[in-house]
Structure formats: structure tokens, C-alpha cells
């Protein structure tokens, strides 16, 4: 279980997160939706302990990870996996070495066992024949699948996904979405997905949290979100250009901006 409580973060004078509260239940899929530049990535970095919030706590079980520094975070990090938006595979290592790296680092397992585990993880993402290639030789979608295999290397309790399907073709997207759902259903992995892909969230999420202007605008099951009467929520899930969320980011009147010096 991951519980965020009153997370605040400013970059200089810009407030990115202004008091985020939510709970991601154990063995459930939680989607965090928000528009681009809405502080989703910042929130994700805070959740994995890579960034300290200005205020607030993040609890993993009963442990407040915002209080932990350096190697103090290691026990938490060994229990989580993270799928980065661009994969973030180590380019100097082969696909197989990338996946075996965390296993070699953190377990005393024999080389042969690790070899079998790597094959199993790759089979899970459908890329068993690519073990000896380097990430640079793979397409973006394949890199992302390898990165998912790496995130699963240590059989984590929680996996975080940063925009798991952005930039992928519809087929690979739905394969990854199905994989998230399977991992959760079969292995009981708690999944926390940060994305702007609304349809995907509606399909597999147990819970959806919508971020807007650094706050939680709405949270609930897909059905609850769909049935929400809030016009901002409605605009968000339908993706309509007209509504309370303005496409125009500037506050000054256009006419005034052009004509009045």
C-alpha cells in the first residue's frame, strides 16, 4: 500500500503540487491521471523517493519514505519496480544483462538460476530472442517492454509506471495494458500508473485519481469518475477542447496583450 499525505512541491515560485492526498490500495491498480505538465512526473518521483517534497509524507506500509535518505531507501527500493517513460535501459549492457543486473546486485542466486529467470522475464514481455542485443538495436516499444522485464526482475510488490503506453502503437499499447492487468491479477502486484491515457485507465484501473492544478480533483472507481457531475472531470475524460479547462495558458486578455503597451 502506498499512501500520500499532503504532498506539496514548488519549483521556485511555481507551485507544482499543492497538497496531494491519495491511497493506492495493496494488490490494486491505481491510475493517476492528469494533463501534461500537471505535476504527474514530479509526484511519481516523490512516490519513489527520488525527489523530496517540500511538505507531506509518503507511506509505504508504515514507513515514511520521505524521511529516508541514501541507503536508507534501499529496503523500499528492492521491493518496488519502476517502468520509466523512455525505458531508461543501460545502453552499455545487453538486454539480458540489464534484466539480470538487479538480481545479481541484490540476491545471492547462482548464475544459472539468474539466466533462467532472465529468460522467464523476457518471455513475459514476449522478447525471449532479444537477450543478447543492445537496447540501441531495439525499437522504442521493445525497449519499453525490456524495461518492464527489468522492473519485474526482483518480483516487486509495487510497480510504478510512467506513461507506459505513450509513443507506442495501438497494438503494443494494448499488450502493455493487458500485461499490467495480468501482473496485478496473477501476481498480486500493486500497480501505480501515471498517464494521460484516459481510455486505458477506464479499462483496467481499480481506482482513478485525477490531478488538476496540483491538487486531487477527483478520485474513485472508473464508474464513479465516469458518472461524476464535475464539468472539469467530464471535460478531462471526454477530452473536449471546450469547457472549464482552458487551452490558453496565459491569463492576460489577448486583445489587451496585443494592443495595450
Amino acid at each position: 500500500m502506498i499512501r500520500a499525505h499532503g504532498i506539496k512541491k514548488n519549483y521556485g515560485v511555481r507551485t507544482v503540487l499543492n497538497g496531494i492526498d491519495f491511497v493506492a490500495e495493496r494488490k490494486k491498480i491505481t491510475y493517476i491521471l492528469g494533463s501534461s505538465g500537471g505535476g504527474k512526473s514530479t509526484l511519481l518521483k516523490i512516490l519513489i523517493g527520488a525527489l523530496k517534497p517540500d511538505d507531506g509524507q509518503v507511506f509505504f506500509h508504515e514507513m515514511d519514505i520521505t524521511k529516508l535518505r541514501g541507503t536508507g531507501l534501499d529496503p523500499f527500493r528492492k521491493k518496488i519496480g519502476m517502468l520509466f517513460q523512455q525505458g531508461a535501459l543501460l545502453n552499455s549492457l545487453t538486454v539480458g544483462e540489464n534484466i539480470s543486473l538487479p538480481i545479481r546486485e541484490h540476491t545471492p542466486l547462482d548464475d544459472n538460476i539468474i539466466k533462467i529467470m532472465v529468460k522467464m522475464k523476457l518471455e513475459l514481455v514476449g522478447l525471449r530472442d532479444f537477450e543478447d542485443l543492445y537496447p540501441g538495436q531495439l525499437s522504442g516499444g521493445m525497449q519499453k517492454r525490456v524495461a518492464l522485464a527489468r522492473a519485474l526482475a526482483l518480483d516487486p510488490e509495487v510497480v510504478f509506471f510512467d506513461e507506459p503506453t505513450s509513443g507506442l502503437d495501438p497494438i503494443v499499447s494494448s499488450v502493455i495494458t493487458k500485461l499490467i492487468s495480468d501482473l496485478n491479477r496473477v501476481l498480486g502486484i500493486t500497480c501505480i500508473v501515471v498517464t494521460h491515457a484516459v481510455e486505458e485507465a477506464m479499462k483496467i484501473a481499480n481506482k482513478i485519481v485525477i490531478l488538476y492544478k496540483g491538487m486531487v480533483l477527483a478520485e474513485g472507481t472508473p464508474a464513479e469518475i465516469r458518472g461524476s457531475s464535475d464539468p472539469i472531470v467530464q471535460q478531462f475524460i471526454t477530452g473536449s477542447p471546450d469547457g472549464p479547462i482552458s487551452f490558453h495558458a496565459s491569463s492576460r486578455d489577448f486583445r489587451e496583450d496585443l494592443l495595450v503597451e
Binding site: I48, A50, T71, L73, D74, R77, K78, I80, M82, F84, Q85, Q86, A88, L89, L90, N91, L101, P102, R104, E105, H106
Partner: protein, 262 residues
Amino acid sequence: MKNFVGYLGRAFITFLQDLSSLYYLFRETVFQSFVLITDRKKLSQARLLTQIDEIGTQSLPLVLAVAGLLGVAMTVLISFQLKEVGGYSYIPGLVAVAIFREMGPLITALIVAGRVGAAFTARIGTMKVSEEILALETMAINPVRFLVVQRFIGLLFSLPALTTLASFMAVFGGFLFGSTRLGIRPDTYVRETLDVLTFTDVYSGVIKAGVFAVVIVMVGCYRGLVVEGGAEEVGRATMLSVVSSTLAIIVLDTVMTGAFYG
């Protein structure tokens, strides 16, 4: 004028911040090096030999070529000056001492800073902007141990070895010129060299090389680790890395030369 003072002030503060960060990185690197060499399993995965090969062996041809030519050039210059007073017999010793103590370590370090230090920054900087370093941290793998330590140990072995080879090559260059063009008998040239050159000359050069190795690795890796942004920033960091390590090498060289003679 006021702007200029402000600029200088800010630059100085940045310099101090960099210096203190470099110190922490150095401390962590030394600590993680001990962690690595006391852990046999991790040591076997660290590919130290690959690093030594990449840094050392691959720089060797360039370093030797430059060193040999430098030896010739120095001998030519010195012979012009000594011709007037007929002091050719001083040439072998003078060239050898200047090379082992000063030119060998300096020129090797500058070449390696440009070739290897820049590559460190570019490599690590690219990993930083593509979130590979964040990925390592998220996997509870210490990035300093994973990225800096092997380069640190690799260069700490390679640079003194390269420097010594370069110095021998430069002295050999001087020997070739002296014995073929200046009419110094080969056996005399060798004897004169060995008479003047002391063990201290050789090892003070090696010590310099060790210090330069630390500078190149620390500056190179640090500039890479602090990159923020995209590919453009990696390029800028690489340039900064070469400039600052070159400068640091020359300053430290002067200080050490003074200290060893003082």
C-alpha cells in the same frame, strides 16, 4: 563594472560549490572503491580490466606519438641554446629530468583529459539525461559505485603507467635526435642520461600522474552527473569538463613542481 564584479562573485560561488561537491564525490568514490574491492562477487563483475584497456591501451598510440615528437622538439630547442656555450654534454640529463618530472606527466594528463575525461562526461551525462542514473538509484544500485569507481581505479592504474611509457618515449626521441643530428655518441648519451636521472625524478612524475588521474576522473564524472536537460547540455558539460580539468591539471602541476623542488 558593477555587473562584472557581480559576475565574478557568482562565478566564485559556483566554483566553491563545485569544489565542495567534488570533495563529496571523491570521498564517496574512495569509500565505494573499498566496498568494491572487498566484495569478490561484485569485483568480478566490475570489468576493471576493460576499463584499463579502454582508458590506457587505446590512448597509448596517441600518447606515444606526441611524447616522441615532444622529446625531439625539446632536444632541438635545448641544443640551440647550448650550442653557443658548447654544452652539448648537458643535453641528455637536462632533457631526461625535464621530461620525467614535468613534460611527460603534463602532456600525458592533458591528452587523457581531452580524450578520456571528455568521454566520461559525455557518457555519464547522456546516462543522466536519459534517466539511466535515476533508474540505477531506483534499483538501489549506487551510481557512484557502478559508474565512477571502475573509471577511478582504471585511470589510477593507467595514467601513471601511460605517463612512464610516454616519458621513456620522449627521452628516446631526444636520444634519436641527439645521437643522429648532434653528434653525441649513443653510449655517451645513455650514460649521461642515467648519471643525471634519479629515482626521485621518475617517481615524482608518477605521483603527479596519480594526482592528475584523480582530477580527470572526478571532474569528468562530476560534470556528467550534474547535467540537467538534454543533449545540448551534455555537449556543454563535456566542453566544461575538458576546460576545468585542463586548468586544474596545469595549476596542480605548478604547485607540485614547486613542492617537489622546495
